[in-house]
Amino acid sequence: MATIASAFADLRTLDALATQDSVIHRLDPRIKVLTAALFVVCVVSFDKYVVAALLPFGLILSLIMGLGGVPAGVIFKKLVLVAPFALLVGLGNPILDQQPLLSIGPVAISGGWISLLSILLRCCLTVGGMLVLIATTGFNEVCRALERMGLPAILVVQLLLLYRYLFVLMEEGQRLHRARALRSFAGRGLGLRSFGPLLGNLLLRAHDRAQRIHRAMRCRGFDGTMRSPHTPHLTVRDVLLLVLACLVLIGMRRHDCALLLGQLLTGLLP
């Protein structure tokens, strides 16, 4: 409950961030969706012991966050909430994989620790990438971009309606939860017997609401598609930026930039 409630609060923050105006916000949403997808695929396709080559992706992400006015605190807060699952599954690595892979002076570091670090970095980068996409684009715009890239209209309508009523129904759920908690003493009345009717009532109310929405939409000429008032057009600048982003991401995927930088500094570059 606590995590969902705070996630709900963060949702509003993300929604508010998406209304800002910046270089990144002004880009065509399709460009951003494609770049984000490529970003995730590049990060995930690295070998499991790779740590250093992942760091330049973090550099790019922080650059985009800076340009798009996304405060790091918002993203970090979400990451802290999400990391435990990856950490839990990855925590077996140091125990199961103890072959030394790297030694700094007398200290040998086993492969397991390196792959755990890699898992955590991947988690931060993939989750961060998604959040930055939403914070600089907005959920509705992402949906419309997906529609114009070929997602079936019914799915887009489903996503848009879900997002619209998410706020309404989550507030209702929060009220129900609070009301029940206030009337419960010593943990009584929180069991399954009151849960069924409570949630059932919420379900019936949601059902009635959906019927009212349907009638209202029909009155206004709903025909199965959502129309948006303005459709952004691709400009030459957008396409150029997409090409540049792809080149940078693929370049970073194929060449270990951190290693090259290190070699340059330590004078080992052949």
């Binding site: 409950m1 969902i4 996630a7 995930v44 396709s45 070998d47 790779v50 250093a52 550099l59 922080s62 966050m65 790091a72 990451l79 990856a86 599954v89 990855g90 892979l101 790297l102 492969g111 792959s115 890699s118 991947r122 993939t126 989750v127 998604m130 959040l131 992402v142 019914i154 309508v157 489903q158 996503l159 309606l161 009523y165 129904l169 989550m170 943990g187 069991g191 399954l192 009151s194 069924g196 009717p197 949630l199 059932g200 919420l202 379900l203 059902h207 959906a210 929405i213 349907h214 939409m217 709903f222 025909d223 995927r253 194929r254 060449h255 270990d256 951190a258 930088l261 290190g262 080992l268």
Partner: protein, 344 residues
């Protein structure tokens, strides 16, 4: 329960994306065939209802812990399996994009584990026959509980397979399975009980809602439809298994090589040469990539264990220096922008 991007290799993620996208396309076509668009707002609102339902938990007697509704099976019962898959897809997308639960690449896995399995396997194969026409509350409860347990067990199995085949996390198959299945047995039981509690209330308060829900999917599509559904499920599982089968030998070889300590692919392990060779091989982001090149192309601080003494120490030092510097740069950029924003 949600798979995370961090634990997934592109091969496994891509395979399940393809499987889930196929199932989703099938369901979308089926939903669009119904001319009545009354279902559209209903699906949207019920998707939002799932989020609200997850805020309200209930205590489980004698354990001191609490559970909440997952909702996949309930959606299938209320809307029919095809519309339910659509709703679950949208719920998972919102969770991935806004709640950072799951991920973009993991979306395929999650839709398969949490949507396709409960709606297209557990619902028609277990709930339908067990619950019958929905007139007997006991049969509905039993059907919902059994279907929820089976659906969650299969979903947990899916998570285990996906994690192990991806090979990012080191967890071995059997212990992971033994950890996941009992936990999800309990979760499935809770899910089944919660679903039947809600269903029994709805049945008392508004029986016509369930009556039209049970009447909607089956009469017209009776036997042939069920059979095609079964064939689809079989083809899907078969397809997924065969997809898994292709990366599997490599994964096994890799595991054997790891445990035996000897590797067939010994050749050029020194200096910058393997890095360049690996770079050349990286021309395409091949799906089977993560399996084929494991251990070899990891350039920075990760030379393969058998070759450890032969590797230039300089490479790892450079990796450390470069990595550290990149990290510092990233933080520097963050600080710079923060300062600028504060001034502005």
């Amino acid at each position: 329960m949600h798979m995370a991007d961090a634990l997934l290799s592109p091969a496994v993620g891509g395979t399940l994306w393809a499987a889930s996208a196929g199932a989703l396309a099938f369901c979308t076509r089926n939903v669009q065939r119904v001319p009545d668009d009354r279902n559209i707002p209903m699906m949207g609102v019920l998707g939002a209802f799932i989020f609200a339902a997850q805020m309200i938990n209930f205590t489980i007697p004698a354990t001191g812990s609490s559970g909440h509704l997952g909702g996949g099976l309930l959606l299938a019962i209320l809307l029919g399996p095809h519309a339910a898959v659509l709703v679950i897809a949208s719920v998972l997308t919102v969770q991935a994009l806004l709640f950072a639960d799951g991920g973009l690449l993991a979306l395929g896995c999650n839709l398969f584990n949490l949507g396709v399995i409960p709606c297209c396997l557990a619902y028609p194969l277990l709930y339908k026959p067990l619950a019958g026409n929905g007139n007997s509350p006991l049969r509905v409860s039993i059907g919902a509980t059994v279907a929820a347990i089976a659906g969650l067990q299969l979903g947990a199995l899916g998570v285990v397979f996906e994690t192990v085949f991806s090979g990012i996390a080191e967890l071995p198959f059997q212990p992971f399975l033994w950890a996941m299945l009992p936990v999800h047995l309990a979760i499935g039981l809770v899910e089944g009980l919660a679903s039947s509690a809600v269903l029994s209330f709805v049945r008392k308060a508004r029986p016509e809602l369930l009556a039209c829900a049970t009447a909607r999917p089956l009469p017209t599509r009776s036997r042939t439809k069920v059979l095609t559904g079964l064939a689809l499920a079989a083809a899907l599982t078969g397809g997924v298994v065969s997809w898994f089968a292709s990366p599997l030998p490599d994964g096994l070889e890799w595991a054997i090589a790891r445990t035996a300590g000897t590797e067939q692919l010994a050749p050029p392990q020194t200096g910058i040469h393997p890095v360049l060779a690996a770079t050349q091989q990286k021309t395409a982001l091949l799906p089977a990539y993560a399996f084929r090149h494991t251990e070899r192309d990891s350039a920075a601080p990760a030379p393969p264990p058998p070759a450890w003494p032969a590797v230039e120490a300089g490479t790892s030092v450079s990796g450390l220096v470069g990595g550290g510097l990149t990290l510092l740069l990233a933080m520097g950029i963050g600080l710079l922008f923060r300062k600028r924003n504060r001034v502005a």
